[in-house]
C-alpha cells in the first residue's frame, strides 16, 4: 500500500466500499426496515386503529402461559442439548483425527445428517420413538442433525495443529490424555466456542424438525417451543402478539450472541 498515491488510495477505498452496497441494500430492504416496522407493530394496539400502547403487548406476551411454556422449553433445550452436543462432537472429532485417520469414510456418517433433509428421516424417528412421551426424541433429533457442522469445524481445527508439537510434548514426558488437555484443548478453544454459538443458534431452528416430527401446529406441552408460539400466532394473524414475542426473542438471541463474542474477545487478549 505504501507505493500507492494517497488520492488513488482513496479512490480504491471507495471502490472497495461500493462492493458492500448490494449486500447492505438487500439487508436494509428485506431485513432491517421490515424489522423496524415489526418493532412499531409491537407498540400499537392493532393495525387499524394504530394507537400507541407502550409496553402492553410485551406485558401480555410475558403473562401468556403459552409464551412462558415456549420460552422455558427453548431455554431447556439450549441448556441440556448444547453441552451434550459439544462434548460429544469434541470426543468424536478427537477420535476421527487421532484414532481413525485412515478411515475417512466414517466421518461421512456424522456429516450426512446435516445435509440430508430432515423430512426424510423424521418418519424413521417417529417409527422408533413414537411411544416415547417426553422431549427425548426431539433432543436426539437435534443432536443427530447438528453434530455434523461441529465436527467439520473441529476436525478442520485439529488438522491444522502441527505434529511436531505433539512430538516435542511426548519427549517432555506428556502422554495420552494429558497431552490433549495441555496442547489440543487450548488450540481449538476458539473453534469450540464458535461451534457452541452455532449450536445455540441452531437450537432455535429446531422448529423444522419438531414440526415434521409432531406433524402439527399443536405438539404436546413438552415439545412446545418459542417457534411454535410464533408460528401459530402468525397463522392466527395475531400480529401484536407475534411482533412482541419476535422482538423479545431477537433481544434474547442478540444478548446471548453478544455476551459470547465479548467473552471470547476478552479471553483472547
Amino acid at each position: 500500500m505504501a507505493t500507492v498515491k494517497p488520492h488513488k488510495s482513496i479512490r480504491w477505498n471507495t471502490k472497495c466500499l461500493l462492493c458492500l452496497v448490494p449486500s447492505l441494500l438487500g439487508l436494509l430492504l428485506f431485513y432491517i426496515i421490515p424489522y423496524l416496522r415489526v418493532l412499531y407493530y409491537s407498540l400499537i394496539n392493532n393495525q387499524f386503529k394504530k394507537d400507541f400502547v407502550g409496553l402492553k403487548n410485551y406485558i401480555d406476551a410475558i403473562q401468556n402461559e403459552y409464551f412462558r411454556l415456549a420460552f422455558f422449553n427453548s431455554i431447556k433445550l439450549i441448556t441440556v442439548c448444547v453441552p451434550v452436543l459439544i462434548l460429544l462432537a469434541i470426543a468424536v472429532s478427537l477420535g476421527l483425527t487421532f484414532l481413525l485417520k485412515k478411515l475417512r469414510l466414517v466421518r461421512v456418517a456424522f456429516i450426512l445428517p446435516m445435509l440430508l433433509p430432515t423430512a426424510s428421516v423424521v418418519l424413521f424417528f417417529r417409527a422408533v420413538f413414537g411411544q416415547v412421551e417426553n422431549e427425548l426424541p426431539l433432543y436426539l433429533l437435534f443432536i443427530w442433525k447438528n453434530i455434523g457442522i461441529c465436527i467439520i469445524l473441529l476436525t478442520a481445527a485439529l488438522t491444522t495443529i502441527e505434529d511436531e508439537l505433539y512430538e516435542a510434548a511426548k519427549l517432555d514426558g506428556a502422554g495420552g490424555f494429558s497431552l490433549h488437555v495441555k496442547i489440543t484443548l487450548p488450540l481449538i478453544l476458539p473453534t469450540i466456542s464458535f461451534s457452541t454459538l452455532m449450536a445455540i443458534v441452531n437450537s432455535f431452528k429446531i422448529f423444522r424438525e419438531s414440526y415434521l416430527y409432531y406433524g402439527s401446529n399443536y405438539p404436546p406441552d413438552y415439545g412446545y417451543t418459542l417457534q411454535y408460539y410464533m408460528n401459530n400466532n402468525f397463522l392466527k394473524f395475531d400480529y401484536q402478539a407475534l411482533a412482541s414475542s419476535s422482538v423479545l426473542t431477537s433481544l434474547l438471541v442478540a444478548a446471548i450472541v453478544s455476551a459470547f463474542l465479548l467473552a471470547e474477545r476478552r479471553y483472547q487478549r
Binding site: Y31, V38, L123, F207, N231
Partner: protein, 253 residues
C-alpha cells in the same frame, strides 16, 4: 484401550448412520414385502411430486448462485475497505446471521406484502440471497488471503469485477464451494418460508410435501425421501473436500 475407543467410535457412527440407512431400506419395503411398488406409485401416480421437486431445484440453485454473487464483493469490502464502524457493522452481520427464522418471518411477511411480491417465487428467493451467513464465513476465510496478488492485479486493471474474479475468487475458491454447498442444503431443506409465505400449491417445495402427512401415505413418503436425498448426496460427494477445508475458521473475532 485404543481398540476399545475405536470400536466405540465405529458403533456411534453406525448409530448416526442408522436413520439414513433405514429410510433407504424401508423405501423398498412397501406393504410389508420387498418391491418397487412405492416407487411406482411415486413416479406414476403422484404428479404433485414433480412440480414440487422442480420448485425445490429451482429455488436452491437460483438462491445459491445469486448469494455467491452478493457475498464475494461484500466479504471483500469487509476485508479491504477502511471505514468507520466496520467492526460494529460486522458484529451486526454476525448477530443477524444468528437470528432464528421465526423472529424474521413476520418482518419478512410484512416486507414482501408491501412490495407486492408475497406468494411469488421472487418473494422466497430475494430475502434469502441477502442472508449474512456467507459474508461472515467468507470474511473470516479471507484473513488468510495473499494481498500481493490483488496489488499486482491492480496494476493491470481498474475494473473491480476483474479483480474480484481473477485475483480474489481463485484464492477463496474452496470457501466459496463450502458456503455454496451449505446454502444449497439450507435452501433444499427450507420449510418455514414456503409454508408461511406461499399459498399457491404450484410454487411450494418438496419439504411441504413431506410435512403434509394427511394427504401423503407412508408408502410414497419413503421413496420420496430417498429421491429427495439424491441431489444433495451427489453435491456432497463432489465437494466434500472443499466443505471440510473451506470452513476452517481462523478466528471468530
Amino acid at each position: 484401550m485404543k481398540q476399545l475407543l475405536r470400536f466405540l467410535l465405529l458403533l456411534l457412527a453406525a448409530v448416526f448412520f442408522l436413520p439414513t440407512l433405514a429410510t433407504i431400506l424401508l423405501s423398498f419395503y412397501p406393504d410389508g414385502q420387498v418391491g418397487f411398488s412405492g416407487y411406482d406409485e411415486l413416479f406414476f401416480d403422484c404428479f404433485r411430486f414433480y412440480t414440487m421437486f422442480w420448485n425445490s431445484v429451482l429455488y436452491a440453485y437460483v438462491i445459491t448462485a445469486l448469494q455467491l454473487v452478493v457475498i464475494l464483493p461484500a466479504a471483500f469490502a469487509f476485508s479491504f475497505a477502511r471505514f468507520k464502524g466496520k467492526e460494529a457493522l460486522f458484529f451486526f452481520y454476525i448477530i443477524l446471521m444468528m437470528m432464528p427464522l421465526q423472529v424474521m418471518i413476520l418482518p419478512n411477511y410484512i416486507g414482501l406484502r408491501d412490495m407486492g411480491i408475497l406468494n411469488t417465487r421472487a418473494g422466497i428467493i430475494l430475502p434469502m440471497i441477502f442472508s449474512p451467513f456467507g459474508v461472515v464465513v467468507l470474511r473470516q476465510y479471507m484473513k488468510s488471503m495473499d494481498g500481493s496478488v490483488i496489488e499486482a492485479m491492480r496494476l493491470e486493471t481498474n475494473s473491480m469485477v476483474r479483480i474480484l474474479l481473477h485475483a480474489v475468487a481463485p484464492q477463496v475458491k474452496v470457501c466459496l464451494y463450502a458456503v455454496g454447498l451449505f446454502v444449497f442444503a439450507e435452501c433444499w431443506n427450507m420449510l418455514e418460508q414456503p409454508m408461511l409465505l406461499l399459498q399457491d400449491e404450484n410454487l411450494k417445495t418438496l419439504t411441504v410435501f413431506f410435512s403434509d402427512t394427511k394427504n401423503v401415505s407412508d408408502q410414497v413418503l419413503y421413496p420420496a425421501s430417498v429421491v429427495f436425498m439424491i441431489p444433495i448426496l451427489l453435491l456432497y460427494l463432489f465437494f466434500h473436500r472443499e466443505l471440510e477445508r473451506g470452513l476452517t475458521l481462523h478466528e471468530t473475532n
